[in-house]
Symmetry: C2
Subunit: 245 residues, 2 copies
Amino acid sequence: MSNVPSLPVTPRESTADSVSGQENSEARERVLAAAYDLFSHKGVRGVGVDSIIASAGVAKRTFYRHFRAKENLVLAFLQRREQLWTMGWLEAEVTNRAAAPEQRLLAIFEVFDDWFRRDDFEGCSFINVLLETAEPGNHVRQASATHLARIRDFLQRLAEDAGISQPDDFARKWHILMKGSIVAAGEGDQLAARRAREIGLTLLRAEGVKVSRQGDGKRPLAERPISTHHRPVTLSSNAVPSKKT
Amino acid sequence: MSNVPSLPVTPRESTADSVSGQENSEARERVLAAAYDLFSHKGVRGVGVDSIIASAGVAKRTFYRHFRAKENLVLAFLQRREQLWTMGWLEAEVTNRAAAPEQRLLAIFEVFDDWFRRDDFEGCSFINVLLETAEPGNHVRQASATHLARIRDFLQRLAEDAGISQPDDFARKWHILMKGSIVAAGEGDQLAARRAREIGLTLLRAEGVKVSRQGDGKRPLAERPISTHHRPVTLSSNAVPSKKT
DNA sequence: AAACGGGTATACCGCTCTGTCTACCTTCGG
DNA sequence: CCGAAGGTAGACAGAGCGGTATACCCGTTT
């Protein structure tokens, strides 16, 4: 049973790993959910396979039946992070909060503002993994870069919709603001999102975009039904919680 | 005997670690120099004590005579990074390239532009260490945050000199641009520094600062005597290079 | 009924890492 | 001359890591 697994276990999450071709196992899902929590908060190098299987309540053999090696789990984690965080949370939340493209760009930092205030703020897993993996050729590192690029694609689409002349350059600039504010938040600056928003505002205006002020500070924040943050409903502290969490 | 050690071995680098009170040993200096290269390029978690002592050509016993534990070496490394990178390179280079405070702020990104193009670009060790150390209370993590704050102090001084109204807020914003561009460069965007510079320019103007254009693009780059980059003259590939570098 | 696929539990291997310990060598000052 | 300080070399302990192997259990399918 276990209350509501993070993802409905439905379809193939791509990159075939499972031995017999079926990646929709319950055990696999528990592992992935446990890995999501642990990896996103403690980093992929800081969490061992033993911790994950203990937290997932799964046998080691079962783990290695679904993932050839730890690296494969990490790659699967990054993909799930994109589903849950990038798409299921950030993009959804932004799209929900504003309609005009330039307002959506600004809304990113309003979403970040809430995020940075969370006591269990984890930072951006893509950045974290990228930076804790030194070797340039690494699979995991490249995957992180790809997922970051996909965030940039979202920004670029918004820039195009806003009629900005050089959407790629603009998206990369906006991404610099996002990444910079995330690192600043990790450093402890809880106001980082507001600062980044202000920079973004001047940047938009310099770009010739007319941005109708609907609150320079906080948003009206009427109804916002989505998102209980991008965290999957973690399976309630299963089984042996391992020794040294 | 070993060509020009990175620092003249002269005075106390604070935080007494050495057993008998003298931290000006030659062996200690070799260790610190080796650690600087390895840590800054491969991360502090990715480099073991064995690699360091092999690269430094020093016995293990000697290492532990000077550093109670690896953590103490890491802290010493961060301090040296501040001396060599923050002060000896970034601040010196910026101060050398421009005189007016607003020009110095912009010069940061011109210095970064050169830096990002290096093939052995290592990123900001303070950010790297901060992000690869998950636990919030950690000594090393806090030390990294402190060193980052000291960079911000430099920015704040420049902001004050430029007559900017809220220097702390401005410094934090500028730092967001710096950190964001560094991460972007780590991701592979070699133009990140120029993008950040452009953002900074609009930000300065929005702040009411008159910035006389002396080249919107590249600088005149006349004489610039300082800096062969912040890298200490690494002791030429000493001793046993260990097995698996 | 038998076979099989997937799950559990646990021991184990080999490697790496931090840190200690033994033993010897060199230099230098009283 | 001798002893202490600081150095070298290398074995070693103990822990954690990723990954494998053994043995058993259970439900479904054939």
